[in-house]
Symmetry: C2
Subunit: 415 residues, 2 copies
């Protein structure tokens, strides 16, 4: 049994931020309860590979209890958090109340449709495992329908895939989709004319991969074109009814697939906490990651709003990771009677892959594109995956794809 | 393009029977269209391992198009068949009509609740991939609820798992469930008293594994007891409301999990074909597997009713496999102007595993139990899995489970 006299740290969210905090608190003089509505930690950067039939879900998701199996001071509660009573130091969940001494809110981000109901209803997204399965099922079903479709206009519409959002997720999804189609599905559908396939990547601003250096943005643009992806910059989506996408310019695209990766915001729970919110619903924190006036409450990861050099820190895994570690350190300092230290982000760089042998990478001031960047990407992501078996099987799957131009997981499962 | 002058063979169903027929017709002077509502062939004997978190779905399912990628005379149609016009030689599907010269109906079997609505509504089943995922999610959720449940009566009910049906599926599921709990979940839930877990296997008749020799039935019974599974023979389920299972004897079991594997019948489509049905909705066929009066229509696999030595052939994969091959041969004979030959089942034996190092096997007149039978089971199932990669990854997963007492896939995915 756990000694109940130790301070109780509740960590809401088993993403990068929350997991890192719990790992840092393992074996320390605190009791920890990780709360999440999912029983697994998801390695979100590879989710697009599940959606494009390259990996299966269990290769990028790992049960929280399995990760902390031998950490005696860490417990897990499968529940959705519905509110917090900061004065009473209690969180409310669908499965009852839970008292805390220290609280870390690391519930992450959700899709942002900016109030566009047609998108919310008809677009596909890529935030969680079921989203990825849905996208995979949908793309494969489009090909099955097209294979026996005699009307050329309808066939063209079935084979037009629109990705909205030129950030890493959009770029990586478009690249992986193109390879799935041109390297794998082409062999599955020998009677289908591959020149009917169109992949469009829409970006509302004037450049892809904002935050990357300009030369890497240009390299990415060139790589996408080489993969037969039509990139439209300054293209803002206005409406999608499941059959037609309409841009703000008035242009209409006949398509039955639209992946929305152009907006994120803080998870819904943060709207119900009466805390001061900045852009995208993110919650303002002190440099120590504490909430002003609540020294025992920390907010980390995507939903945490903190500026550095006048700019908000980006909603990225690397920030979440470092903040999770810093919050754990600060809690241990508070427990020991010391004061919390301010958080400082050490930017390790950015990475985005555009498919086979091709990526862009910035590491400090170094920039890489093409094959070398892709190898860096491969190594970084394999190391990042938790659990040795996951790494091994992911490596086998990738090697297989690489050498045999095959994808294992092109299953359409009933929904 | 396919030469349209060749006879068109339509194969309904991508199970063992249908796939074997299509494989045998590959490269032969016929055009083949395989029709199935799923885009994958499922290796059903291992479905229980998906349900018990040992394998992920893509390890036992393989896309039909991938299997026939280089077979130019084989096409695939993803559609549900809704009827057949035998006189016009046309099948009706949700996606339109399809004309045939020869038709093979190999649509397999469905769960049979024998009209018990409480079971149809509340029991879990194990026929397809989504069923297996649902069972896995459910079992893991029971443990998550039990881990934080303070009421001992409720906790006992959450941790009571009932499997109805003492055939191979029931025996294998109960065995795998017991190992999942006692070898893996026990480590995930260190605060949960494992002695609260109860697994019951109910069988309506007086013996398990009917069709196996009596000494192997006894060996299976002994192995199940060693795995802390309570076997109740002559126990017939009357009602299950999701909280309580009631037997016909009046006995009540508090439980929230009931896996129904005690009944099968021919798939629903066979009820709409105006063909003569025998027990379990199976359709009577001539010894050549043809339907009487329709020499171009064959029925193979689970839904085919044919007696040998006064006994109907069992609804088993080995029968389906051989019938699929025989029907393909007969079609080629008819195309060549010869007459169809009668089918003769060559019984290769039976196999059932009861978990780690333990199985029962009959091969011809030889009988094995324990470790040797388990090795036989392992080899037979690995060889049976289609696709080299699947075999390799399944082997890695199994080896990992075996040596590390771990299970990869204990994810609860949103439904």
């Amino acid at each position: 049994m756990k000694p109940n006299t130790l301070p109780h740290v509740v960590v809401v969210g088993a993403g990068f931020a929350g997991m890192k905090t719990a790992q840092k608190l393992a074996g320390k003089p605190v009791r920890v309860t990780v709360v999440d509505r999912r029983n697994y930690h998801l390695f979100q950067p590879l989710l697009y590979q599940v959606a494009t039939a390259g990996l299966s879900p269990d290769e990028i998701a790992y049960p929280v209890r399995a990760i902390f199996q031998d950490k005696k001071n860490i417990d897990f509660l499968l529940a959705e958090v519905t509110g917090v009573d900061f004065d009473a130091r209690i969180i409310q969940t669908e499965r009852g109340l839970l008292a805390y001494d220290y609280l870390i809110l690391a519930a992450g981000a959700a899709v942002n449709f900016f109030g566009n109901l047609s998108l919310a209803k008809n677009a596909l997204v890529l935030k969680d495992v079921p989203d990825a399965i849905r996208l995979r099922n949908h793309v494969l079903r489009m090909f099955e329908l097209a294979a026996h479709e005699k009307d050329p206009v309808e066939r063209q519409s079935l084979l037009t895939f629109v990705v909205a959002g030129g950030g890493p997720t959009g770029v990586e999804s478009a690249g992986a989709l193109s390879e799935l189609i041109r390297l794998v599905l082409r062999k599955d559908y020998p009677n289908l004319d591959i020149s009917n396939v169109r992949i469009l990547l829409l970006e509302a601003s004037s450049c892809l991969l904002s935050g990357f250096p300009a030369d890497l943005q240009a390299a990415a643009l060139k790589s996408l074109s080489a993969k037969h992806i039509t990139v439209k910059l300054l293209a803002r989506l206005a409406h999608f009814d499941g059959r037609q996408a309409r841009l703000e310019s008035g242009e209409v695209i006949n398509c039955q697939t639209l992946l929305w990766s152009a907006g994120v915001q803080a998870a819904e729970i943060y709207q119900h906490l009466s805390l001061e919110q900045a852009r995208q619903g993110r919650v303002k924190v002190l440099p120590t990651l504490q909430v002003a006036g609540r020294e025992n409450v920390f907010i980390t990861g995507d939903a945490s709003y903190l500026e550095e050099n006048g700019q908000p820190l980006p909603m990225m895994g690397t920030v979440a990771f470092q903040q999770g570690e810093a919050a754990a350190g600060n809690i241990l300092r508070l427990v020991a009677g010391k004061t919390a230290l301010p958080f400082k982000y050490a930017d390790p760089g950015s990475l985005a892959t555009i498919g086979r042998n091709d990526a862009v990478a910035r590491i400090g001031n170094w920039r890489f594109s093409g094959f070398i960047a892709w190898v860096i990407w491969l190594v970084v992501h394999l190391i990042g995956l938790i659990g040795f078996r996951n790494r091994l099987i992911v490596l086998i799957n990738w090697a297989w794809d690489y050498f045999f131009y095959d994808r294992a997981v092109r299953l359409i499962t009933r929904e």
